[in-house]
Structure formats: structure tokens, C-alpha cells
Amino acid sequence: MRHIISMADLSVAEIDELITLSLSIIKSPEKYREACRHKKLATLFFEPSTRTRLSFEAAMYELGGQVLGVSEASSSSAAKGESVADTIRTVCCYADIIAMRHPKEGAPTVAAAHASVPVINAGDGGHNHPTQTLTDLLTIKLEKGGFEGLTVGLCGDLKFGRTVHSLVHAMCRYPGVRFVLISPEELKVPSYVKIPLKEGQVPYVQTTDLVSVLPELDILYMTRVQRERFFNEDDYVRLKDSYILTPEKLTRAKADLAIMHPLPRVNEISTAIDPDPRACYFRQVLNGKFIRMALILKLLEAEI
């Protein structure tokens, strides 16, 4: 039995395998419609989510499986003070696989330690969000054809942006990748995120200026400054509008730039950019369903 808590739980070969499986699902969805028949996915979301929860549920339904779960902490025994360990032991009695989102960092690690079915981390605070990263990798594969030699710009809240942390971890394992980390001083990536970059001698630069680095990017991954990660409202208000991508700024970018965003966005990407073919964040949303289908198939060891 496998759990997926962070991208470190997957080898490059396994990631490639999941992407290949996703491409097969996109091409021939009918082949997979009964693959998880009589299997149940529990979605335990102790923090609000639209895309991640719905994409997990849609993924399971499209595989012929069923879904049960909680969509907020207040509707479960967590509100009564039940521990993660006890919640998970209970849910394991009812479900074949669990997708869990929790506001506290490391909660899925605790869940996995007590689970008798596979646990997928669907986001733990500002820490890891591996299925978003898999979504991002599938999107990059579809948009750019591969991963090698790309210059990846990550912009916005790089401190609390868990999608950024996981993406750095995954992308740094491909040869020739270079990172441009664009953030206000207060929202720079934490030191642990830079460990794999230093260990792998992966080139990266840190800057506060989006416009000056825009022409060199193959991918621009925008993120939202997340109000829920701040203890101090004043800090949030001061930093929330640090980077706003507009059509004017985009005139400096490559013609084949891929603009990505894990969504939800607030105002960091102007809606005027949405019709631009370089904007692929809504295609990214759709890809999220396909890669989660692939992951569920792999963890349940479903036979096709």
C-alpha cells in the first residue's frame, strides 16, 4: 500500500508513468469507465476547496467508483476535537482510498501513519500539495512537450505557496531546468525548498522584479497571496497586490510562454489575459481531473 504525501514519494519514472496513463485516459476515457467500480473514495477536506475536491470526486466518478466525505471541519468530529489519527482509523473502515486536505502542516503524515488504505495529501497548510504538482507537470507536458531545459518562473507568494514548493521539488529532478523565483522579500521561498536545488546544483535566481525577467521565461507560474496564511491582516494588505500580470507586461514575454496558476486567483492575473492562448490555467484545471484519475488507478492497483 502506498501513500502520496509529498512529491518525494514518487520517483521520476513513476511520475512519467502517471503522465503517460493520464494521456491514455485523455485519449480513450471509455477504457477506464469501470476501472474503480465498487471502490469508494473518501474526500476529507478540513479546509475549503473547490477545484481539488471536485476534481477528486469527478475523477472517482469517471472511474466508475463512489465518493463519500466531509467538505469542512465543522461538519466532522474534528470540530469536537477528534485527532487526525482517530478520524483516519474511522474513515478507513468505510473507504478504499482517502484524499485529505488539512490546514495544519504534516497532518497527512500523521494520517498515513494510521491508515490501512492509501492516503493522498490534497494540501496541508502551506506545506505540500502533490496532486496540484502532478496537475502542473501534466499541463507542462501537454503545453511544452516535455520538461528538459525549461526556464520556470514562479511568482507571488513563494513562502506559503505550497504548490510552488512541490513544483520546485518535482521539476528540479529534470535536466536543464532553471528557476526564476519572483516574490516580495517577505514572501521568499523557505530554506527547505532550496535544499534540493542546492543539492542538485540546479540554477536559480531570486528577484523581486517580474517585468525584467519575463522575456526569459518558458513558463510563468503565478500564485495568489493567500489571506488565510497570514496571522496579521496588515501584512496581507501590504503584500497582496505585489504582482499583477497584465496584457501590457505580457508584450515582453515569449510567444510560446505558458502562463499557469493553481487557482483560485484574486487579481494577480488580469482577466484581459484569459483569451490569450498562452493562458493555460483553465486547461490546467481540466488536467487536474485526469492526473487524479491516474493516481487513483495506480494507488488502488486497478486492473484495466
Binding site: 485527532s83 487526525v84 489519527a85 488539512h102 490546514p103 495544519k104 502542516e105 504534516g106 497532518a107 503524515t109 500523521v110 496541508d124 497548510g125 502551506g126 506545506h127 530554506s191 527547505y192 535544499i195 496571522f231
Partner: protein, 139 residues
């Protein structure tokens, strides 16, 4: 100053001067009923000054965890008044409930019964990180 030799027990030597009480507290030696001697600022040809702890009993604890406090410490195991083993504690791969995670966003901040476990992530820099949230340990 004379401290009686011990018959069966442990001598923790070459503790950095001033760190003796930290080791004493770390090993929770105040709870023991046997003789325990703390010698502070003892003369040392190697270190100038050092602290020493002598425990007249065999402790049932992982002394390697002392490597987290100071890997230059020397541990001497004494049996029948003879030294039978002398070694430096190695940096342990994991340390449990010795330091606490201070990240307010970590699951350990709300679930009090969870053990605080840190894993060695960089042996060169003696760096430990929380197994849950990956925050760096502050000694």
C-alpha cells in the same frame, strides 16, 4: 576536589564548559536515585575547561541522542570499576521528544499527544527537521 570513582555506570566527559547542566536536564538525571556528580570547569589539556558527569548506574537511555547537544562529548561505560567502552555519540538519525517543533502551523501545535520527531537532514550542518512540517529545529 575529589569525586569517588564509580563501580558500574557512565562517565560523560569532554562536555563543553557550561553545558553540564544542559546534559543533566536532557537526560533527566534529577529523577535518579543513584549517585550523580556534576563537575563543572574541570581542567582539561584539550579543552582548557570542561564539564564532566558521573552516574553511578547504567542508564537505560539512548546516549547517542547526546550527539545532538554536542558530538564532541565522550561517553565512558564503566563496569567493575574498569572502563569497558569509550566512544563519541553519533548524530542520531531521529530524535524524539527532545526538542519541540515551534512552527505554529505544524500539526503538533494542535495535537498534543503527537511525539515531536525530528530527522537528521544534513549531517555536515547538524541540521534536523520536523518529520511533519519540515521546519528546521532550533536547538
Amino acid at each position: 576536589m575529589n569525586i569517588d570513582s564509580i563501580r558500574n555506570g557512565i562517565v560523560i566527559d569532554h562536555i563543553k564548559a557550561g553545558q553540564g547542566m544542559k546534559v543533566y536536564d536532557f537526560l533527566d538525571l534529577g529523577k535518579l536515585h543513584c549517585s550523580v556528580a556534576i563537575i563543572q570547569n574541570a581542567a582539561s589539556s584539550k579543552m582548557g575547561k570542561k564539564d564532566i558527569i558521573k552516574i553511578d548506574s547504567n542508564l537505560d537511555v539512548d546516549l547517542n541522542a547526546l550527539g545532538y547537544i554536542d558530538p564532541s562529548i565522550t561517553i565512558n561505560l564503566i563496569k567493575d570499576s574498569q572502563r569497558v567502552k569509550k566512544y563519541h555519540p553519533e548524530l542520531p538519525e531521529t530524535i524524539t521528544n527532545i526538542i519541540r517543533c515551534k512552527n505554529p502551523r505544524c500539526i503538533t501545535s494542535t495535537e498534543q499527544q503527537l511525539p515531536h520527531v525530528f530527522r537528521l537532514t544534513d549531517r555536515v550542518r547538524d541540521e534536523y527537521r520536523c518529520i511533519y512540517c519540515e521546519s528546521k529545529a532550533n536547538a
